[in-house]
């Protein structure tokens, strides 16, 4: 499955008021290109911290569903972030990891997630629910009810290494992204 389609498929399964924090690199750019909305925060720098941002948000907005769109490189860079989520156990926190075992925006250099299963690490840390899917049909089945059950959860989607054509950069300036997202969070 290509990553941009997987990103779009997850975005389409979200309730309109769900809040999304997307990691830097291709995943955020794909979400922006395919399914932009004021309820999305695109983290363009600070690699690794999307899960921490999502956790902080989930803790102060417990009535809102918070979904972190993350990548294997990001998760590995802030491994302690998994522990923090597991320790805090926010029921409204869902972690979607698009795992291509590579750094997609710097030339597809390999990561180590082919040897370290991130969903198993999350489960061992204390995420209440984890699953791993590898094609669009499996993803569709999991997404049918994934966000109805409490978190913290991790849905790991294995995706192809190739980047698809036609994915632009995130266009709004960072202060605009933050301001519109904060307004959507506190509405």
């Amino acid at each position: 499955m290509n990553r941009a389609d997987a990103v779009a498929q997850v975005a389409a399964a979200l309730a309109p008021d769900a809040l999304v924090v997307a990691c830097n690199g291709m995943i955020g750019r794909e979400l922006y290109t395919r399914a932009d909305a004021p309820t999305r925060f695109y983290m363009i720098g600070s690699m690794g911290l999307a899960s921490s941002i999502g956790l902080g948000l989930a803790l102060v907005q417990p009535s809102r569903t918070v979904v972190v769109f993350d990548g294997d490189g990001n998760v590995l860079m802030n491994f302690g972030g998994l522990a923090s989520v597991a320790a805090a156990r926010p029921a409204n926190f869902h972690h979607i990891v698009f795992d291509n075992a590579a750094h997609g925006s710097t030339g597809n250099q390999r990561t180590i997630s082919d040897r370290v299963p991130l969903d198993e690490v999350a489960r061992a840390a204390g995420y209440g629910r984890t699953a791993r899917v590898g094609d669009a049909g499996q993803l569709r089945r999991e997404l049918g009810s994934w966000f109805d059950a409490p978190g913290p959860s991790m849905l790991l989607v294995t995706v192809d290494r190739q980047n698809v054509a036609g994915i632009g950069r995130v266009e709004p300036e960072p202060p605009e992204i933050a301001a519109r997202f904060r307004a959507a969070c506190t509405r």
């Binding site: 911290l49 921490s52 941002i53 902080g56 803790l59 102060v60 522990a83």
Partner: protein
């Protein structure tokens, strides 16, 4: 002093607390750890604490991030590629291990460059002076709100230890 300090922070509008401990503000983190009403999140690293703080700010809060100055180095990328570019304000409470060279070896270099690093990163700061702490927090908070960028209070030894 920990209680008075937290009361002061709350009076200045801060309502989310996260960080990584330092013995120099042990008196503050002991209260934060013991009293659930603060919702203190004990972070694994200082940059992760900044991530938590950014999320809390986006969710409507005004965060404080406590860290040892050793954690300032860990925080640089989060400060410059998250908070500063997105206009996300935060108050950093940064302890000053290694001040004036009198400390364990691992603190000496960062102790020497703590203030220059903040200057280089364009983070306005004050070195905590107990008699004028209220005025210092007032000024820092006003700057933080005006610029929507992080500001820092550097805490020397002997002020918030107990």
């Amino acid at each position: 002093m920990g209680r008075e300090f937290l009361d002061l922070l709350e009076r200045h509008g801060y309502d989310f607390f996260t960080g990584v401990p330092c013995s120099l503000f042990e008196g503050v983190t002991r209260i934060l750890d013991d009293e659930p009403r603060y919702g203190y999140v004990s972070a694994v690293r200082e940059d992760a604490a900044l991530g938590l703080a950014a999320g809390a700010y986006l969710g409507g809060r005004q965060p404080v991030v406590l860290m040892q100055n050793s954690g300032l180095g860990v925080s640089i990328n989060a400060l410059v590629s998250l908070h500063q570019i997105y206009d996300i304000p935060a108050l950093l409470i940064v302890s000053w291990r290694g001040q004036d060279g009198g400390d364990a070896p691992e603190h000496l270099i960062m102790g020497r460059v703590t203030a220059p690093v903040l200057q280089l990163l364009d983070v306005p700061y004050e070195v905590c002076d107990p008699p004028s702490m209220d005025a210092q927090l007032h000024a820092l908070t006003a700057t933080m709100r005006r610029t929507r960028r992080p500001v820092a209070l550097i805490v020397p030894k002997g002020i918030l230890d107990r």
